[in-house]
């Protein structure tokens, strides 16, 4: 297949008159892990929401394997193979952990594999297995994060969008989650994630993109970024 799997071209988008993304372009090659870093409030989450269809574009296009997905409804974007694990988790509060996970495999293709996927997610996140019948609204912050990520892993995704997967997680769990992410990438999935802490992704991401005030100001490989501390210092400090 020629060209990147996910192509974002000169995209402008925002909320109610505020422009958040300005003329933004990004190409993500299949089977790679791309990380977006940058100051808070500058559009990282908005970009993921624009890809998954929750935020409409005022200009530009987003294509998956050459097919435009920016005018599709969010559920159609999911059906096309783009799974978004949002930052606020957005769990179903009155459903249990396992019911939430099962909702991740709502579409028929994934539903057929449900038992196997559930086992995989529970093996990966044993805490969720422990709490499988607990109602989501009673979970702790980190447990909700885990459930949200687990739910995202239940679906068949060609592209997985992860919004700050490490937020609120204990250090040991962060390492485990990133191990999973790298394993997923190695098995062929394409992953686009947003991360607050550049050093966490520097040695794992194939490409890192620095988003500032709605546009990308720097793109490159991890080692390059760590060799240029002044870039990080300017935008992120430390």
């Amino acid at each position: 297949m020629a060209g990147p799997l996910l192509a974002i071209e000169t995209v402008t988008a925002g909320y109610r008159g505020n422009v958040v993304l300005r003329d933004l372009s990004l190409a993500v090659e299949e089977g790679t892990l791309a990380a977006i870093i940058g100051p808070n409030g500058h559009g990282k989450s908005t970009l993921l929401r624009a890809i998954s269809g929750l935020v409409p574009l005022s200009r530009g296009t987003i294509s998956l394997a050459g097919r435009r997905i920016d005018r599709l409804r969010p559920d159609e974007v999911v059906a096309a193979g783009v799974v978004h694990v949002p930052q606020g988790d957005l769990l179903f509060p009155e459903m249990t952990v396992v019911e939430n996970l099962m909702m991740g495999a709502y579409l028929p293709a994934a539903a057929a594999q449900m038992p196997k996927r559930l086992d995989e997610v529970f093996a990966l996140l044993p805490k969720l297995a422990e709490r499988r019948h607990q109602i989501a609204s009673t979970l702790s912050g980190g447990e909700r994060r885990m459930t949200g990520i687990g739910r995202g892993l239940m679906a068949d995704s060609r592209v997985l969008l992860l919004d700050e997967p490490s937020l609120g997680l204990a250090p040991i769990l962060i390492d485990q989650i990133y191990e999973v992410v790298v394993r997923l990438k190695r098995s062929g999935r394409t992953i686009l994630l947003v991360e607050e802490n550049a050093s966490r992704v520097a040695d794992k991401a194939d490409r890192i993109h620095l988003l500032d005030h709605g546009s990308f100001v720097w793109s490159g490989a991890g080692p390059e970024l760590m060799a240029r501390p002044e870039i990080l210092a300017t935008y992120l400090g430390g």
Partner: protein, 284 residues
């Protein structure tokens, strides 16, 4: 600096210390506290003390009971067993308002703020209702409250942006407003629940500076955080919880050599990085 406001006569639920044991001067004494939800013990027979002026850092795996502990101390979710003494007084079953007026303030993991109001107004609400019991809220907030508000905003660095609407500002400012609201209640003890989650290193540094300023005023602080840099650099002492119990209590540097802590909380990678970080700071 102004002295803390005098104790109002009508504070419900605060029982003066009955026993002769004075608690050794601890400002907060948690004794055998348990919190059960049905059969599940979210906090299990936990005991520890906090001395005035300390910064106690609490860490632990997700679901260990850390936020539940804060809910028990601040009165939102009373303990099922055990006792909590604050400044010598039993607050175990006191109402959240009484505990706030007694001098304990708290911030939350999620950005709790009134979105349609300005940052300054959010802090005003805290300053007005949080410092003293108001049986009849007045029409005007009053000059002394305004002074407290201005001071709190300046302490966190929000003075120039205070007029902006809370719903429209970046997450750092919302967290700072929450912190300003907490200190505007003139607390003696401040409970901070994951104050820097989601912030980048520059923003974390800023919040660390603010917390140091607050601690310098003599306010005792207990903080929950997973961002280890924040936890170890600010805390004078660290407590790690797991399944509602204490598995470590001691100096921050001991964390990286405690086997249990590494196995259940830090993991090998993070503990190595943390060890290196602490060693570097010590050399500096």
């Amino acid at each position: 600096m102004a002295a803390p406001p005098p104790v109002a006569p009508h504070r419900r639920g605060l029982v003066p210390e009955q026993s002769s044991h004075a608690g050794g001067g601890a400002i907060l004494s948690v004794r055998g506290v348990s919190k059960h939800f049905g059969a599940l013990a979210a906090v299990d027979d936990l005991s520890f003390e906090v001395m005035p002026g300390e910064v106690l850092g609490i860490g632990g795996p997700n679901g260990a009971g850390k936020t539940t502990l804060f809910e028990v101390i601040s009165g939102l979710s009373p303990a099922t067993r055990g006792a909590i003494l604050f400044d010598g007084r039993d607050i175990t079953q006191a109402s959240p308002e009484a505990i706030c007026h007694a001098g304990i303030a708290r911030t939350f993991q999620l950005n709790a703020g009134f979105d349609s109001m300005s940052l300054a107004d959010n802090v005003r609400v805290a300053a007005y209702f949080g410092r003293a019991h108001r049986s009849w809220p007045g029409v005007k907030v009053g000059a002394d409250t305004d002074a407290v508000v201005a001071e709190a905003l300046a302490a966190v660095g929000l003075a120039d942006r205070a007029h902006l609407l809370t719903g429209s500002v970046p997450v750092l400012d919302r967290k700072l407003a929450m912190l300003a609201g907490a200190i505007a209640t003139k607390p003696k003890l401040l409970l901070l629940d994951e104050p820097v989650g989601g912030l980048n290193p520059k923003e974390i540094d800023h919040v660390m500076g603010v917390v140091r300023t607050i601690a310098a005023r003599g306010i005792t602080i207990i903080l929950i955080e997973h961002i280890m840099r924040f936890l170890v650099e600010l805390s004078t002492r660290v407590l790690i919880m797991h399944h509602g119990e204490k598995i470590y209590e001691g100096k921050p540097k001991g964390l990286v050599s405690d086997r249990t802590v590494i196995d259940v909380y830090l993991g090998e990678g993070a503990s190595e990085r943390l060890g290196a970080l602490m060693a570097a700071r010590e050399r500096a």
